[in-house]
């Protein structure tokens, strides 16, 4: 019941979770944030985790990032433990809030990880320029965060995660706080970015259109206990303009996701 999709390890998985459990002790007793979660993510895939709040999608992302330790089970990231992968700076993490430092300019914010990781001055300048180019904010390097809109701030935070050579991009509802119009534009930009960089993206969202539009694979999760209820491989082509959302294929995948979400709620 908990593990509908039988777990078959994939040879070239860049992220591989095996029978992952994580329980929090709270005042109201034990909360099972994750139960028996197994998932393989191939190199270069765009995988969305979707589900209602409390389904453990963010927790799973945090486990992959070694920001949270599982109670049992194992995860490997690029063949390492999550903590070793973190130390090897294997991933860039984008939080729900942009979280830019108000005392740093846009360029200096993007430079932050590079300073911490000890890149040379010339290398830092080059990388900041490239990262800002990727998110189309080259003209804004000298501005302070408060001079930017929410969507632009989130793009800066993506540039910050792209500035160093991480192969994996972990994104925790990065566009959740933005309005629909901005969100659609950022979805298109993110897709273009993903194709250009060939990164592996693990993306947490609670929006069905967003998940279907972006992903090569959609992982549907359900709460109490947090678990995977279905994994849907998207048949959509890699080239995905916004209009793809009106095609029958898109609607069919979206229906599949909605069905998966509903099934997860049976028994609640």
């Amino acid at each position: 019941m908990a593990d509908i999709q039988g777990h078959q390890p994939v040879g070239d998985a860049i992220i591989s979770a095996n029978d992952l459990c994580l329980a929090f002790e709270t005042r109201d007793g034990t909360v099972e944030a994750l139960r028996n979660v197994s998932l393989d993510i191939g190199r270069g895939e765009f995988v969305s985790l979707i589900g209602p709040s409390g389904c453990g999608k963010t927790t799973f992302l945090r486990v992959v990032a070694a920001l949270e330790a599982p109670t049992s089970g194992s995860v490997s990231v690029k063949g390492m433990t999550p903590d070793d992968a973190r130390r090897a700076r294997a991933y860039g993490y984008v939080f729900q809030a942009a979280g830019l430092y108000p005392w740093r300019t846009v360029a200096a914010n993007v430079r932050l990880p590079l300073e911490i990781m000890g890149y040379s001055r010339s290398e830092r300048e080059k990388r900041v320029r490239n990262a800002l180019d990727l998110v189309e904010l080259s003209a804004f390097g000298g501005r302070y965060p408060w001079q930017l809109s929410g969507g632009m701030q989130q793009r800066v935070s993506i540039a910050r995660a792209l500035a160093f050579d991480a192969e994996i991009l972990l994104m925790d509802e990065p566009f959740g706080a933005l309005d629909e119009i901005v969100r659609d534009r950022l979805n298109e930009q993110l897709l273009a970015l993903w194709r250009k960089t060939g990164m592996t993206v693990l993306f947490v969202t609670h929006s069905i259109p967003e998940a279907v539009h972006l992903s090569t694979k959609i992982v549907v999760m359900s709460p109490r206990p947090g678990r995977i209820t279905s994994v849907i491989d998207s048949p959509l082509p890699p080239e995905r303009p916004l209009e793809i959302r009106d095609t029958p294929e898109f609607i069919k995948v979206a229906q599949g996701v909605r069905l998966g979400l509903r099934e997860g709620h049976i028994g609640d």
């Binding site: 973190r86 860039g92 993490y93 005392w103 300019t105 932050l112 302070y144």
Partner: protein
């Protein structure tokens, strides 16, 4: 436009000052009239209201000196006296100022060091904080003479004992403010640094220190005012040698109320200047950091 705005903000300030001064005059007339009437009665003179009011504002040792008497005394003891004179308020003010600034520097450094220790060590958090709070619960008036006497007995006198009391009063707001400041970034910010595998040193300098700047200046403003109080209190038990505190004490020995009030107003002005200069430093720093819009 700009002048209009200036007038609009100046007008309420002027109104409040005018109100304070008129209440002050009224109180001076009321409080000093008993003595004036007594004197007149002893000499068998009948005082008209006009003569009474005039008398209450020109006594040598009034209960409450009139504002202009204090103003005249202030003018005479700052502008007209040489700075080297023992009666110069500038001379006394500078002595108090040096103790204030010295003590403030010690207190601020100590406060920041303690805050750094407290945020990085649970043991320090548990052990230092209660003592810091207890230290401020002891009345400084009770403690100051002991500090002076103890330091004097080991051969330390002059600036340092007063500065010690200033430091004692000013370290506390700095500890409290900087602990909050260093802890002010939200957990997400620390998570972000963790994803970069940043070490605690980097987290401190790149995140905690810049984030604490607004807190630092707020603490410094409270700290420097406390420091000035400490320096003045530290001058009281030394037997009224020098400093604004000594002027206050000497004034009260000899019933020189005008001298007391001028010393008080000098102290208040000094406090305003000190707090104001920290305010300027705050604006400059935060603007430089891009944190002022």
């Amino acid at each position: 436009m700009a002048i209009g705005a200036l007038m609009r903000s100046l007008l309420p300030v002027a109104a409040v000052v005018a109100a304070i001064i008129s209440v002050w005059y009224a109180l001076a007339v009321q409080m000093n009239s008993d003595w004036a009437l007594d004197r007149a009665g002893q000499n068998g003179i009948e005082l008209s209201f006009g003569a009474l009011v005039k008398n209450t504002m020109s006594q040598d040792r009034p209960l409450l000196p009139a504002p202009h008497q204090v103003a005249v005394e202030l003018w005479e003891t700052t502008v007209e006296k040489k700075i080297t004179s023992k009666r110069s308020l500038v001379h006394h003010g500078l002595i108090t100022l040096s103790a204030t600034v010295f003590g403030f520097a010690i207190g601020t450094a100590l406060g920041i060091l303690l805050a750094v220790g407290i945020i990085h060590s649970r043991a320090m958090n548990m052990s230092i904080m209660p003592w810091a709070i207890a230290s401020q619960a002891v009345p400084i008036l009770a403690l100051a003479p002991m500090i002076i006497v103890v330091l004097y007995s080991i051969g330390v006198s002059g600036l340092l004992p007063k500065a010690t009391i200033s430091a004692y009063l000013s370290f506390f707001p700095v500890v409290v403010g900087m602990v909050s400041g260093f802890r002010s970034p939200d957990p997400m910010q620390f998570d972000l640094l963790k994803t970069y595998a940043a070490n605690p040193w980097q987290a401190f300098w790149k995140l905690r220190v810049p984030a604490s700047m607004p807190y630092l200046f707020t603490s410094l403003k409270v700290g420097i005012a406390a420091s000035l109080v400490g320096a003045i209190v530290g001058e009281l038990p030394t037997g009224a040698v020098a400093g604004l505190g000594a002027r206050l004490l000497a004034g009260s020995y000899y019933g020189q109320t005008i001298q007391i009030w001028s010393a008080l107003i000098s102290a208040a002005t000094l406090a305003a200047l000190l707090v104001g200069s920290i305010g300027i430093a705050q604006r400059l720093t935060l603007r430089r950091m891009g944190m002022l819009r």
